[in-house]
Amino acid sequence: MDRRNFLIKTIGIGAAATLGNTNESVATPINVLSEDRMGVLVDTTVCVGCRNCEWACRNSHNIPTPPLEDYKNRSVFKEFRRPKEYSYTVVNEFSNPQNPLLPIDVKFQCMHCDKPACVSACIVGSIDKLPNGSVVWNSEKCIGCRYCMVACPFQIPAFEYLTPIEPSIRKCDFCIERTKEGKLPACVEICPVEALIYGKRSEIIKIARDKIKRNPQRYIKHIYGEYEVSGTSWIYISSREFDKIGFPKLSNKHAPGVSEAIQHGIFAYFVPPVLFYSMLGTLMWINKRKKELDVEEESNES
């Protein structure tokens, strides 16, 4: 299947997946892990660091941006940058020990985790994991506590610290508004070299494995995001170890696991708190009675 065809087919699936079952109760966040969730494969060996995706991202999210030409300026690569409030995605450049003339450029953004820590953490359930794979923040519920930022293993959610009223959590939303309409995410659409491949997560993992198998000297044997924190929607392949090109070293266990287990243990259908309450009540009653009995006895004796 050539890439164009693949894309056209997958856009359809992506759009269909966003329309999946979202009519869950408003009381809890939507947190579904659909078989058909979408993802993006980032081939860092293909990326040329043109930063067009940075422009497209701002442009499609109505964030003021300098003209596209300005993004050709490669001096920004001198410092390591991170996604933040008004740039949901950034490209960083790393040296390539195998070929110094061909530095490694790495686009980074929210990974849209399969088991997102931010969704589990949010106090009011303001962040949803939607059936199409995207992890999306909603404004209505958010109280600005920034617990999602504490929880995210990739340090992605950013906060408008200088906004006194209605500050927002800001991060990549996987272009949910575009994919709903059957369009590609803005960054994927603009990428001139096909470094970003949008598709069903299960499909792009196959593509990634295939690429590595066909070109073993080009890639290391590691698909970042296939297993990290139990899997992410965005996955990466590279010619250099991932911790050398700006990725955190993470275990395969997902972050919410332990804390959710503890939470549910303490609160299992409210049984433990209620039991504890009755236990204390009984104790209180017995102790009070004991005192009264003592008093009774004393007055009987005298």
Binding site: A27, T28, F80, R82, K84, E85, A117, S120, A121, C122, I123, V124, G125, S126, K141, C142, I143, G144, C145, R146, Y147, V150, A151, P153, F154, Q155, P157, A158, F159, E160, Y161, L162, T163, P164, E166, P167, P248, K249, L250, S251, A255, P256, V258, S259, E260, I262, Q263, H264, I266, F267, P273, F276, Y277, L280, G281, L283, M284, N287, K288, K291
Partner: protein
């Protein structure tokens, strides 16, 4: 029943002394300075007064004002459990001061949350939007309910203060009777149902004291392994229980000093006697956990983490443990007092370590150091809390005065008469 317990409003005793002593004036200035920064935060945003960033989303407002505040207010539920649930009447005299600390403490915890969250006007959102997976959700809900419970527990003190002497100025005079009637009904209803709230207070405290420990677990690898452990909730609960009585001892001694009263030595020493076993259990879990997770080797890397950890455990747990165990603690209140100070210090450092020192984001460009504004607000709140405590014990019957030691004793009932002279 209330044999030697006789809480009175202290202003009756001290009507000659002005409220504004030099100490009070200094505290007022510190509080005002803090409030200036609070105002700036509301006008220009959190980033204007704090050093918080996308790397370090939580600073001392959460780590100290909220987390440490909750721990240090634990005296409220530990004394309630001792005095009311175990029904040990000899401790009733400390229940009210501890309740006041808890009530004021939690009020300031709530204020701390309000200034720290970006959309403070939505602070009530957890009541209608639930996420049961979130540890913070549980802490938020429990603290909200517990704060209400604390206010209810405090109500009888208010009715006691006003019952029988409702006295509105002239044109509102017609209100006297109905208000008096209302107070009486309230008092009756409260004394019948109070046990419900007292037990609820203990349950809620147990829940959120431990869930406060669950908070940082989701930060996973961002937390230094010396602190990151799945038993954090248990450690938080045990340490909160262990600091409950030391906090009561500390306050009681300080309050007696500043009001020129005799501290209730015997009761305080007895309380101190109960601290050692709890500290021992806490220490056992803390060290046992280190064995299981094999984290001892981190102690030999000489850095901020190992040093802070050692200070927390040695100065804050082991030394006071030995002090409480020593025979001298039986004889002298001074030892008990200083041991209590160390336990409190240990908990403050522990919470600070857990929320600030241990937190290491994967990408950090410059370390987090609290700004002048953050520190000003934190100590400003502490100053404000002390001032309010002082005002409350002056106005409400909270602190018990032992009759034989004080010739000038005024009971709650003739208080008004004396005050008018």
């Amino acid at each position: 029943m209330n044999h030697n317990i006789n809480p009175v409003p202290l202003s009756g005793l001290y009507k000659v002394r002005p409220f504004f002593t030099p100490g009070v004036i200094i505290l007022t200035l510190i509080a005002l300075n803090g409030l200036v920064f609070v105002a700036l935060r509301f006008i220009f945003g959190i980033g204007y007064v704090t050093n918080l960033s996308n790397e370090y989303p939580w600073g001392i407002w959460i780590g100290i004002d909220v987390a440490t505040g909750v721990a240090l207010a634990a005296g409220g539920f530990t004394t309630a459990a001792l005095g009311h649930i175990m029904h040990r009447e000899e401790y009733h005299s400390i229940v009210r001061p501890a309740l006041l600390t808890a009530m004021l403490g939690y009020t300031f915890v709530a204020l701390g949350v309000v200034i720290d969250i970006g959309r403070w006007y939505y602070v009530w959102h957890p009541l209608i939007y639930w996420n049961p997976n979130s540890a913070l959700f549980e802490v938020g809900i429990c603290v909200m309910i517990y704060l209400t419970v604390l206010y209810i527990e405090f109500l009888p003190i208010v009715t006691e203060r006003f019952m029988g002497r409702v006295n509105f100025p002239k044109f509102l005079k017609f209100l006297n009777k109905p208000v008096e009637w209302l107070l009486e009904k309230l008092d009756k209803g409260l004394s019948k149902t109070m046990f419900i709230f007292i037990i609820a207070g203990v349950v809620l405290s147990t829940l959120h004291q431990s869930s406060l420990g669950t908070l940082m677990i989701i930060a996973g690898e961002k937390m230094h392994p010396l602190w990151q452990t799945p038993v954090l909730p248990l450690l938080f609960f045990l340490s909160a229980v262990s600091v409950g009585f030391p906090m009561v001892i500390f306050e009681s001694v300080i309050a007696s000093k500043s009001f020129g009263l005799k501290p209730e030595e015997k009761i305080l020493k007895k309380l101190g006697n109960m601290v050692a076993p709890i500290l021992l259990i806490y220490l056992a879990f803390k060290i046992g956990d280190m064995f299981i997770r094999e984290t001892f080797h981190y102690l030999f890397e000489l850095n901020i983490h190992s040093i802070m950890f050692l200070i927390e455990v040695i100065v804050g747990v082991i030394v006071p443990l030995f002090m409480f165990l020593s025979r001298k603690a039986i004889k002298s209140l001074t030892i008990t007092f200083w041991a209590s100070v160390l336990v409190i210090f240990g908990i403050v450092i522990n919470r600070f370590n857990n929320f600030i020192v241990a937190y290491h984001p994967p990408y950090s460009f410059k370390p987090y150091i609290p700004s002048i504004g953050e520190i000003s607000v934190t100590i400003g709140f502490v100053a404000l809390l002390i001032l309010l405590y002082r005002a409350f014990v002056m106005f409400f019957p909270i602190i018990s005065v032992q009759p034989k030691n004080n010739a000038q004793i005024i009971t709650a009932n003739n208080y008004e008469v004396l005050n008018e002279k």
